[in-house]
Subunit: 305 residues, 2 copies
C-alpha cells in the first residue's frame, strides 16, 4: 500500500486512535503520525510505548500541517476540540471522527470547520471493553465495518481517500446518512449496552446473591453482559445523552416485548416462548454467515480454560 | 484416573450428555457408556459418530444394570422419564440430572425414585449455543462450575462419587440447596437469557432497520446477545416455565433499574449514568480474576477475522 496522507493527527489516544496508529503503520498508510491527548499520563504512556511518531501537548500543535485530523475523543468533548483546532487547520485538510453517534457530532463539529477543509464523519464498528493508549492493536478493524457519513455536498475525493484509509486498515466501508446511522446503532449497540449495564447493576445490587456467587457462576450467560458493561463509562454516558431519541425509542420497544414475554412466563404460555426463541435463533445464523462471528463450539472460552 | 462407575446411562444425547461422554472417556471414568434419546435421528447420529459405547432404543433398556443414570432431557420431560425408568433401576444406583433448574426437577423426579436408589440432582454451568449429539466436546466442563444439590439425608458416598466424576471431567464442584440454586441462576443465567432473546426479537421486528444492517453491524454489541439468544428453544421454554418465580422477581428488579436509567437519559443526568457504568465495570474485573473469562484484547473475535 502507498501513503494516503503525509501527516495524520490523532486527537485523543484511546483504544480506537491507538488501534488506528497500529493499523496505519502495518499498511504504511501515513507518512507521519502525530498524536495528542488531554491527559498528561496518557501522553506519557503513548510516548513511552512509541504509539505514534510524535506526541504534542496540545491539539492545536498536533493539527499543524496535518492532512488528516481524526477526532477520537468522547462525543461530549468534540465541540470544544473542534473550536480549539479550527484556526490551525491546513487548507485542503480532511477532518474525520470516530464517534459512536453521528447527528450530535455533526452538530458539534460542523459549525467550526473552516472553508476549504473537508469534514467527513465516520464510525468504526469495532471495539473491546478495554480503553487507554495501551489497549490498541492493529487487527481491531479487520473484517469489521466502518460507516462513513458524508454530509451534503461532500468532496468526493476527500471521501474516497478516507474510504481507502479505512480499507487499508482492514475494514469494510459503508456510507449512510446520519439519522439512519443513529437508528441502526441504537438497535445494534446503544440499547444492548444500556441493557447489559442494567443487568450487571441489578446483579450487583442483589445482596442476597453474593458477588462471589455471581462471579463464580457467570459462565451461564451473565458473563457476556459483563463484558459489554465494562466499556468506557465516559464514552457511553455521552452516547446515551447524544443519541437520546433513537435509544429511548428502541428501549421502549424492548420493554414492551419484555412485558409480553414476562406475561407468557407468568401464565405458563410455553408455545409463545418456544416460537419466540425459535425465531431469534435465525438471526444468529445470519451473523455467522456474514462472517461477523464464529460458531466454533468452544467459542468465547479462554484457551485451556 | 480410575473407573468410578462400571456403567453409565445417558438419557438424552444433546450438548451436555454428549460432552459428558467425551469427558468421561478422556479421563477413563466409566466402564461402559450407554445412551438413548427419544428421537430416532439423534440415536442414529450418536451411533454413527460413536458418541457412546452402546445406543439403546428406550430409556428402560439404557438404565438396565447402570450404576449411574444421567437425566439429560429438557426439564419438562424429566417426570415422564423418571416414571418410565423407575421399575428398571438397579438397587444402589445413583440418578442425577443436568437440568438448569432444581426445585422443579426435584418435584418431578423424586416421587418416582425407588428405595435404595440415590437421587443427587446436579447442574453443570457450561454450554454453548449449539445443541444435538454432534455438538459435544470433552473440554466443555473444564474450569467451569457444576453445582450439586443433595437432598436432605442424601447418601454421602453417592454424593462424593458423583462429585469425583464431575471433578474428573474437569469441573469445579459446589453444593447448594435447591432454592438458592434457582435464585442464583435466575440472576446469572435465566434473566440474562430472556433479556437477550427479547432484544434480538426487537431487532428482528424493526423493519425500518433491515435484517442485513442488523447482521452486518452486529459486532458493536448486539452480537453477544444473538449468541445467547440462539440457545435451544425447548430447554429455555422449560427453564422459564419451571423457575417462574425467581426469574420474574429478577426481571421485575431489572425493569425498575432500566426505567431509572431511561429517565436519566431523558433528563440528561450524565452523572448518574457515569456512576452506574463505573460501578458495573468492577464486576467484570472480578470475573476475570476468578478465571471465568479472559481479558485478551481481541477476545471474542474469530481468528483472522
Amino acid at each position: 500500500m502507498s501513503v494516503l496522507y503525509d501527516r495524520v493527527a490523532l486527537i485523543g489516544l484511546g483504544l480506537i486512535a491507538g488501534s488506528m496508529a497500529h493499523a496505519m503503520r502495518r499498511a504504511g498508510l501515513a507518512g507521519e503520525i502525530v498524536g495528542t491527548a488531554r491527559s498528561a499520563e496518557t501522553r506519557a504512556i503513548a510516548e513511552e510505548i512509541g504509539l505514534v511518531d510524535r506526541v504534542t501537548e496540545t491539539a492545536a500543535e498536533a493539527v499543524e500541517g496535518a492532512d488528516l485530523i481524526v477526532l477520537a475523543v468522547p462525543v461530549g468533548a468534540m465541540a470544544a476540540v473542534a473550536e480549539d483546532i479550527a484556526p490551525h487547520l491546513k487548507p485542503g485538510a480532511t477532518i474525520t471522527d470516530v464517534g459512536s453517534v453521528k447527528a450530535a457530532v455533526v452538530d458539534a463539529v460542523a459549525p467550526h470547520v473552516p472553508d476549504g477543509v473537508h469534514f467527513v464523519p465516520g464510525h468504526p464498528l469495532a471495539g473491546t471493553e478495554h480503553s487507554g493508549p495501551q489497549s490498541g492493536f492493529a487487527e481491531l478493524f479487520d473484517h469489521r465495518w466502518t460507516i462513513l457519513v458524508p454530509l451534503e455536498g461532500a468532496d468526493t475525493d476527500a471521501v474516497a481517500r478516507l474510504r481507502a484509509l479505512w480499507e487499508g486498515m482492514g475494514a469494510f466501508v459503508d456510507e449512510m446518512d446520519m439519522d439512519r446511522h443513529d437508528l441502526v446503532l441504537a438497535v445494534t449497540s446503544h440499547a444492548p449496552h444500556l441493557i447489559a449495564y442494567t443487568m450487571v447493576g441489578v446483579a450487583d445490587d442483589l445482596r442476597r446473591v453474593t458477588d462471589s456467587e455471581v462471579v463464580k457462576y457467570s459462565a451461564a450467560g451473565f458473563r457476556d453482559f459483563t463484558r459489554i458493561a465494562a466499556s468506557d463509562p465516559t464514552m457511553w454516558r455521552d452516547v446515551f445523552l447524544t443519541n437520546k431519541e433513537a435509544t429511548l425509542e428502541i428501549l421502549g420497544r424492548f420493554t414492551e416485548e419484555l412485558f409480553a414475554l414476562q406475561r407468557a412466563i407468568r401464565t405458563g404460555d410455553g408455545d409463545q416462548l418456544f416460537d419466540y426463541f425459535t425465531r431469534t435463533r435465525e438471526i444468529r445464523r445470519g451473523i455467522i454467515e456474514a462472517g461477523q462471528d464464529t460458531d466454533a463450539p468452544n467459542f468465547g472460552r479462554a484457551k485451556g480454560g
